[in-house]
């Protein structure tokens, strides 16, 4: 396939220069690579997105796609995966959607270790609703809904997923497309719940482009052992998602281990719609016969 096969022809309505374009490229590239290397079947890929600026990716990827509610990407993804385990499911979330509205689902999706990929476009702001603070916003952020500044520290999504048993935890950067592409490829091929928090500056409401460019560094450069839980946890706590001069922001794969997936518990799970069941109504009601 060619990368252009993923285009839909729909008009892109992100702000000109939005870093979401970078993610879109990374996602397309990763899928193209995987399909061309026979790692995944294009027809079997399903995207899932919620509501926010990021959600518009629904319109820009020529894939099977479920555009669901704000904060509900994860339960939908879960349902799709058990609805047909053959599918390669890729979920997209915003930081508002995932860490505010839908955080319950993140905690539990990590636990279930569903074999699917989930990436958050973390711009630390509710963008589509014009720039309010989210639980991912840095301490002190002043926004139209929080003019007094936020008092608490942001959620650390990496640490949160680690503590809840995620088997693949990564961070990437919307402006480093090759890095992002690689991480997404690894996430999709990983068997288990793959979580990627993508730093995605919103140039209209939370423009951290410059800062992030200066402060991110790659885990691969520091010999990080991604199969070690303690190391992963330590690295995930290295940056607190706030902005201080000496912030060091690791990107890359923090953690990746083999772990049984959600499916293991269910011998009967299958591609249901191809399963020809013939319910025998007499047999079903038999036991209620006096």
């Amino acid at each position: 396939m060619k990368i252009e096969d993923l285009n839909t022809g729909e008009k892109i309505t992100w702000c000109p220069g939005c870093t979401n374009f970078g993610i879109l490229s990374g996602v397309k590239q990763a899928i193209t690579n995987l399909v061309n290397n026979n790692k995944v079947d294009l027809n079997k890929i399903v995207g899932v997105s919620g509501v926010g600026c990021y959600d518009k990716i629904y319109d820009y990827l020529n894939l099977n796609f479920f555009h669901t509610l704000h904060g509900r990407t994860l339960p939908t993804l879960f349902g799709i995966k058990i609805g047909n385990p053959e599918l390669t499911v890729i979920g997209f979330g915003g930081d508002g959607a995932t860490y505010a509205e839908g955080i319950a689902h993140l905690v539990h999706s990590c636990r279930y270790n569903i074999n699917a990929t989930f990436m958050v476009f973390n711009n630390q702001i509710f963008s589509l609703t014009t720039g309010q603070a989210t639980p991912a916003s840095e301490k002190g952020l002043v926004s139209p809904s929080t003019p007094l500044g936020i008092g608490e520290k942001p959620v650390n999504p990496l640490a949160l997923s680690l503590i809840n048993g995620a088997s693949f935890v990564a961070r990437s950067f919307a402006l480093d497309i090759p890095h992002l592409t690689k991480v997404i490829e690894e996430a999709i091929t990983h068997k288990g719940f793959s979580f990627i928090d993508i730093l995605q500056p919103c140039i209209s409401y939370h423009n951290t482009t410059q800062f992030l460019r200066e402060h991110v560094y790659k885990l691969e450069k520091v010999n990080h052992n991604s199969s070690n839980y303690e190391d992963a946890m330590k690295k995930s706590l290295e940056w607190d998602y706030c902005y201080s001069e000496n912030s060091k922001i690791p990107i890359g794969i923090f953690y990746k281990v083999k772990k049984p997936t959600y499916r293991r518990q269910w011998p009967q799970i299958r591609t249901w719609h191809r399963f020809k069941r013939k319910p025998d109504f007499r047999k079903i009601v038999e036991e209620y016969k006096g």
């Binding site: 319109d59 993804l77 349902g79 249901w272």
Partner: protein, 547 residues
Amino acid sequence: MEKQILIGGAAGQGIAKTALLIGKIFTNSGYYVFNYRDYPSLIKGGHNFNILKVSDKPVNSHENFYDMIISLNQDTIDKHREKLNKRGFVLGDKNLKARNLIELDISKVLEETGTPKKFGIDVLIGAFFKILGLPIENVLKVVEEVFKKKTDIIEKLIRRGYTSVEQKIELPEPNEKNKYFMTGNEAISSGAIASSLDIYFAYPITPATPVLHILASKQIENDFMVVQPENEIAIINAALGASYAGAISMVGTSGLGFSLMAEAISLQGISEVPLVLYLGQRTSPANGVPTYTSQGDLKFAVNAGHGEFPRVVVAPGDSKECFYRTIETFYLAYKYRVISIILGDKHVGESNYSFDEFEEPKIKPSNFITTPSEEYKSYSITENGVSPRAVPGENAKVRASSYEHNELGYTTEKEDLIVKMNDKRLRKMDFIKEEINKLKPVSVYGEGKNLIVGWGSTKGAIIDSLKKLENFRFLQISYICPFPTEIVKREIENSNEIILIENNVTGLLGDIIAEQTGKIIEKKILKYNARPLTSEEIVMKVEKVLK
């Protein structure tokens, strides 16, 4: 002949199980039985009781007076003695104090047989059936079936009970056929399995929990899956995901969980991903009276979720109807890509109904999935509003959206498309209306110039009350959405006195009838003490209301 039997004791003493066993013994012997279950929201202690109505003719409800009380404690007698018929009697241990007590020396039996206290109830069962003159073989056959092996002690105790008393009552010969004996929840579960259910999603909640338990226990044998995710919001969204992916999906809950699902119900509306939802009502608002019954969620079921979109709401009135209606909901949901709501309640869900036979369902299970061409459009605009269902994984791209969209599913804000898509979705309602006209959306029982109108679990008591009411028909409305306007209007117009009967505070069906037909029913019998109506009560109140 009709006998009312109350059996009562504390939670944990096995009251419900015993009532079930008694019911099964009767139905196995060819009698009709209705079994009502009453229990507070606690695990051990308190006061549980069941009321059985037994007859050689069909029975559909219980009464609040008794011919016989089987009592496991004094509390039961104290609470119910006033409702014991003049010539009724109490069966229980000799330590109990009651008028007309048929005494058993249970402790002695237990001591002599060296069995633990909890088996005392078996002595009572034995004695009970002797009093009614049922052959002991009938009793033991069912006991064996129910407990499978290791029934030796139980059998012994039943025999001891059986021989320790005299027959007091002569039951008429029943018809020969043994009966089905089934709760609404069992019937809904069975209907779902018969519809080729793939995945059931639920979170525990009274009174829908039994469906979760029943289906969970049958998943391996029937090759489907039962999942209990983190909360109701996850449940319905996951169910929509699974349905989108191709699985025949269903969720079950009660009012609290249903409230939490409202947003995703609206998502169902615009995404047109098929879904079946079981809503088992209990006494509201909020936690209300959690283990008791009510019909208080009707208008909420019809209106839940922001915005306007088609839906099916069907309210079966007994367990047999639960079975067929459940099959219909799957058919309508998956054929028309809508949400179908089975609106039950504690009373229909947890009471056992008996009946002679199941007829083979006319509707055969189908997921209505088509094989898409490459030009497949997820939201193609068609004459009947239904865009053929396809699932991801084949050659076409299948899209589902929470936003307004064009035929391919891409987001739109265009005026004409918005109109077209709304029209397309709403159009389905006309076709569903035609379908339900073939599914007997209403039933009329009895004959007479006067009309009782009701829905759902009041059906049994109303039908039983007709025997004692003169000149009354009963119009049972099963389909609430789409509403069978013409038939209801006609029935109302062709009646003298019209009485609305509901198990709620404000008469919600009355509102819907007025909305749909313009007919306002002034005379109402509304019961809202969290308990179901009985036929006696209805007869009394009808007289009052007509005065």
